[in-house]
Amino acid sequence: MRFQRLIQIPVFILFLVLLGFAAYPLPAWFEVDVFLRLDPLIALGSMAAARAFIPRLAWALIIIVPALILGRFFCGYVCPMGVTIDFSDRIIRRGGKKHGQNAFENVGRFRYLKYLFLAGLAGTALLGISSVFLFSPLSLITRFYALMIHPLALMIVNAFLDVFRPVFPAVGLESLSFVTYKVPYFNTNLFVAVLIVGIFLLALVQPRFWCRNLCPAGAILALFGRKPLFRRRVSEACNGCGRCVRACPMAAIGEDFVTTAHSECIFCLKCRDVCPEHAVSFGITGKRHPPQPEIDLGRRKVVGAGLAGVAAAALTMTNLHHIHGGETPRALRSSRLIRPPGALPEPAFQARCVRCGECMKGCLTNTLQPVWFEAGISGLWTPKITARLAGCEQNCNICGHLCPTGAIRPLDMEEKKHAKVGTARIIKTRCIAWEQDRTCLICDEICPYNAISNQFAAGHRVTVPVIDENRCNGCGYCENKCPVTGEAAVIVEPLGELRLATESYLEKARKRGLVYQARGGVEDHFILDTPREKGKRKPIPLAEEEKREEISLPPGFILDE
């Protein structure tokens, strides 16, 4: 196996393993989002859009600084997008034209695009809008594996388990006969697929088309790696057969077979391996060559691209659903847009979120889903709590710990329990207790924060659920478990959500009078026995004739005759 593959494949497997570990409970021995933090575009783009130094992203320096010495080694050895494209290129280009692909007149045609994308990204960042998620290789590829491949892989594993399930007990693997994996659902997954498959199909034009021509992270590394210390050199033995040119996946070799566009070279070493004369070697001595052929990248084009970025950002900001800053959310904000606990205030959140899908992949209950245009164009694929599908688990806080950019803050468990994401509201006309006098109260049963209680109310034969908004954390378990068909009779809305950039959720919740009894052994009387504190909601008044003795009974008990 070639040297490149010996490094590339284990690194790629590590990427997949870490993505697999992005699940509850998070391993304590390693930070599983580390690949995302290595991406120079995520680091620079997010910091620029958010106008903040993000310490977690300092990992990208591991890639950027050595680029001065090793050029674009990241693209050839580390980037999981690169491996995936190498693999998909093999499939897509099989049987296709293999020779002449690097004809000199064509190779440079699109190469400048990546610099223009980089300029465009800078333009959007200028207005505080992040478009990193559309162009970052790590974001694209993590999203691909997290939201598309991961559920498909689990389906295959389940099918395999199902086939062998009857056999397991006979061969002493009884415990395996109970194993089945919950296959997660993801909103908009088809569109995630269309974008990434489109990128793969560009292989029909050129191999590694994305890496050569489009990837702005590659552009950053190319800028840093224009004159790397370690580089390709060609000896006198070269007889000009041109095999190296045809083998080069990046079209980095010039017409004379000697000059090398160092900013394009990913050190795959293919040119060295195919050279029949052993004329090609890599080392720290040798002539530095300018990019071959020269890239026509005028100032005018770069400025134009930057301005296009600014214009695109301005367009998204004037979109009806764009969420601007300020304490009060715009009236048009979707009432069903519930952000994960610890999400930064919306503009900062969107500026930092790179839509990599780590939080959604890791989400214990699968409640975190990518949104479509609910939060404006700039909010595409940002995560939201989809309470009808699942609640946000009280004892889980991993989304914040998985977020590479800190768009969701990494909160400890106590802080997370106080990070109110919204407030539940009962739609009485849909509720089978309020509307049909049925003994239901699943919402009360499931509520982890004891925010829903059953009360007797005027005109109702059974106790009905009532929400104490000061206890409601917005986790959405009530909405998830509500047994009515279709839209739940109890729904979570963002009203009262806490979005804090730096402050403590615990303190803020205390100041607001929010009570989250997360621990056991606390006093909690039956609701009718204790008059509510001043200023809090009073029990619903009953008509005189309804004040039977029965109402002094806790729910579920009946009178003793």
């Binding site: 919950k182 049925r438 003994t439 699943i442 004891n450 009894q517 621990r519 806790p554 008990f557």
Partner: protein
């Protein structure tokens, strides 16, 4: 009320006798078991006081020993309540010591396999982990701890005596088991008053929600108990969740008691009357599903007419 207290010495003597009888009973099955039943050899309800583990052992011994239910080579299913990812001190889940002791007793009695099964309300694996059950029972030999919520592990069963519930999907492993042991925790419940052995049977089926939507909840619970009738009920009343049930947080009152009975209705009734709920005491007949079960002949809620044995360990 036939109600007698035992000293520790007396208890040990009696248990030895019981063991002897049980051994003899095993040797002469037909004859002896008949006489044992006729002579009320075993109490109807045992209330055992002490630490959860030892009290469980004491309760099972007093009710006739695990050998009375678990013969050599049988498959046992134990149904704890681990519906919530809460630690034991919150009172919303069965104490792991109780389950571990029951599983150990089953194995000592010669069970071929012991399965601890539940279908929790919240995330299954998290419930298993945070209830302490995984640590307590995860590595016991020949014992499986499973939380099952996938449809493929359930099988449709008719409920011939059902009034509201006429069929439901029950865990296949439960249907295949020879012995079913209910091991709920004693706790309050916002819809059914209390959640004990009978309500706990809802954790062995797949679709619980229809109980609330299409049926009368209390009737449906009793319907379910006509097909899921545990051979032994052991209620963990080491502490009760007196308010805020079933999930808590709520007021947790330590009782240090374990209740055992072959009659799930009687065990539930005993737990209701032993405990204080929302600061009040109640008669078992005040809990609708217990009363319905009694009226339909599933068991006895009139604990004043039952032989109750108290043991202290």
């Amino acid at each position: 009320m036939i109600h007698y207290k035992m000293s520790r010495r007396e208890f040990i003597e009696k248990s030895a006798q019981c063991a002897a009888f049980a051994a003899a009973g095993a040797a002469l099955p037909g004859l002896f078991c008949e006489s044992a039943r006729a002579g009320r050899r075993f109490p109807d309800i045992v209330v055992s006081e002490g630490m959860p583990g030892p009290a469980t052992r004491g309760a099972v011994r007093a009710i006739g020993g695990m050998e009375r239910f678990v013969k050599r080579g049988v498959r046992v299913v134990i149904k704890p309540n681990i519906s919530f990812p809460n630690p034991p001190d919150m009172g919303s889940t069965t104490h792991p010591e109780v389950i571990r002791e029951l599983a150990a007793l089953c194995r000592e009695a010669g069970a071929a396999s012991v399965l601890i099964l539940d279908n929790p309300l919240r995330d299954s694996e998290l419930c298993l982990e945070r209830s302490g059950l995984k640590t307590a029972c995860g590595n016991l030999p020949e014992t499986g701890v499973r939380v099952l919520d996938n449809e493929r592990f359930f099988e449709k069963v008719d409920v011939p005596e059902g009034k509201d519930l006429t069929s439901t999907r029950i865990m296949k492993q439960v249907l295949a088991a020879d012995v079913l042991i209910a091991a709920p925790v004693a706790k309050s419940h916002s819809a059914t008053g209390v959640s004990l052995a009978m309500k706990g049977m809802m954790g062995l089926i797949h679709n619980r929600w229809e109980f609330h939507v299409n049926m009368d909840l209390n009737t449906a619970i009793v319907d379910l108990c006509t097909v899921l009738r545990p051979h032994l009920t052991v209620i963990d009343a080491s502490r009760i969740l007196s308010t805020g049930g079933p999930g808590g947080p709520g007021k947790v009152i330590p009782l240090n008691k374990i209740i055992a009975s072959t009659d799930m209705v009687a065990a539930d009734a005993m737990a209701v009357e032993l405990g204080t709920w929302y600061g009040k005491t109640f008669r078992a007949r005040q809990v609708k599903h217990i009363r319905l079960a009694h009226e339909r002949g599933l068991g006895h809620m009139d604990i004043e007419n039952q032989v109750i044995q108290e043991v202290f360990v």
